[in-house]
């Protein structure tokens, strides 16, 4: 009686491991799908929030360049006693640095941006 029970236990045990393995595989597949879906969770906040974030990012880059350039010029002016000239020069240089930063940030955004849904160049032209 005990033996029969043990045997039945073993067989169900074997089936259980198979079952578990299958379920694990299925789960793995589901997990992969979920991973693909959620891959960059913060990258895909749809629409307006994302666009606003990007716009703010670019504009702060630009403004920060001018502010830092102006500040450096102001400090140097104070040090050399050349009142407005260095500040003017460094404001311009700061603007240039800001534009450089914006270009770099935009390039980085472009590199990591997901391909837009309405623009799938890979399969040729399937318009929906």
């Amino acid at each position: 009686m005990a033996g029969a029970e043990k045997e039945s236990g073993r067989t169900t045990g074997g089936r259980d491991t198979d079952d578990i393995r299958q379920r694990l595989d299925a789960l793995e597949g589901k997990l992969d799908a979920a991973r693909v879906r959620h891959a960059p969770p913060p990258e895909q906040p749809e629409g307006r929030g994302r666009a606003m974030g990007q716009a703010l990012r670019l504009s702060t880059e630009l403004v920060a360049g001018v502010v830092v350039g102006g500040f450096i010029g102001w400090v140097l002016d104070g040090a050399f006693g050349s009142k407005p000239f260095l500040m003017v020069a460094f404001l311009l240089l700061g603007a240039a640095a800001g534009i450089l930063n914006v270009v770099r940030t935009a390039k980085r955004m472009q590199a990591e941006a997901p391909v837009p849904k309405d623009l799938k160049p890979v399969d040729g032209d399937d318009d929906d």
Partner: protein, 259 residues
């Protein structure tokens, strides 16, 4: 002294009956303390930083206490955040950047929890003060620059010399590159601060619209508030993420020296 003066018009310091939307950002001293002539009072800002630090510690310690192979819900949240930041560091800095993972993880969790704490009504949003975000950014900036010089020595200065540029243009371009490098702490701190402050001000303003428009008109503002709160939670996460990922990018620049 100032705190007591302001504490008199408790809560809604605005004129004309509507609450003042900037009132929420006010620093209040909880107990006064002066160290070596410096006002080191424990403020509401400091209180929320302590709360955030305790929450993160409690969360990670409690979640990983068992460390079981099949994670509990709490444990999988902790593991998820670990993997999230670890992937971020590995993708942006490379495997040799994993040395700095503890720092990036701490930074990300700290900013994230501070932002999220700010979304709870009646709490104080620490990251809406530029001095806090600027202190974080300046620390990152200094650290990254030191790492750059430590790894490459004087050669790190080549980071500021763009390649393939005619010799005559170099002085101008090097100055521009240096300024561009110096803007990093400012743009990093302003981004986080501006997002948090603008969002919380908007929330307060539209919240006061709900009350001001009354039972008939308030519903539209209320619906907007619900949507906007959702957006703000997203922004709170996104800004913590951006803060951490930019730290990674700066680290990568210092370690591998290319733009």
């Amino acid at each position: 002294m100032i705190s007591t003066a302001y504490a008199a018009d408790d809560g809604h310091g605005g004129a004309g009956g509507l609450p003042d939307p900037m009132h929420q950002f006010e620093i209040k001293r909880i107990f006064e303390l002066e160290l070596f002539g410096v006002d080191a009072s424990f403020t509401n800002s400091a209180l929320f930083m302590v709360i955030a630090a305790c929450l993160i510690t409690l969360f990670t310690v409690l979640a990983m206490r068992r460390g079981s192979l099949v994670p509990t819900r709490l444990q999988s949240v902790a593991e998820l955040s670990y993997v999230f930041v670890a992937n971020m560091v590995r993708d942006n800095v490379g495997t040799d950047g994993m040395k700095y993972f503890p720092f990036v993880f701490t930074l990300f969790m700290f900013v994230l929890v501070l932002n999220m704490l700010g979304m709870i009504p009646y709490t104080f949003t620490v990251t809406s003060h530029i001095i806090v975000t600027f202190a974080l950014a300046a620390f990152i900036f200094l650290g990254v620059t030191l790492i750059g010089f430590w790894k490459h020595g004087v050669k790190f200065l080549k980071f500021f010399v763009p390649e393939g540029v005619p010799f005559v243009m170099l002085p101008l371009l090097v100055v521009i590159e240096v300024i561009s490098y110096l803007t990093r702490p400012l743009s990093l701190s302003v981004r986080l601060f501006a997002n948090m402050m603008a969002g919380h001000t908007m929330l307060k303003v539209f919240g006061s619209f709900v009350v001001a428009l009354g039972f008939l008109g308030g519903w539209a503002a209320l619906a907007f508030m619900v949507a906007f709160t959702g957006l703000e939670i997203l922004v709170a996460f996104l800004q913590a993420y951006v803060f951490a990922i930019l730290t990674c990018i700066y680290l990568n620049d210092a370690l591998h020296m290319h733009h």
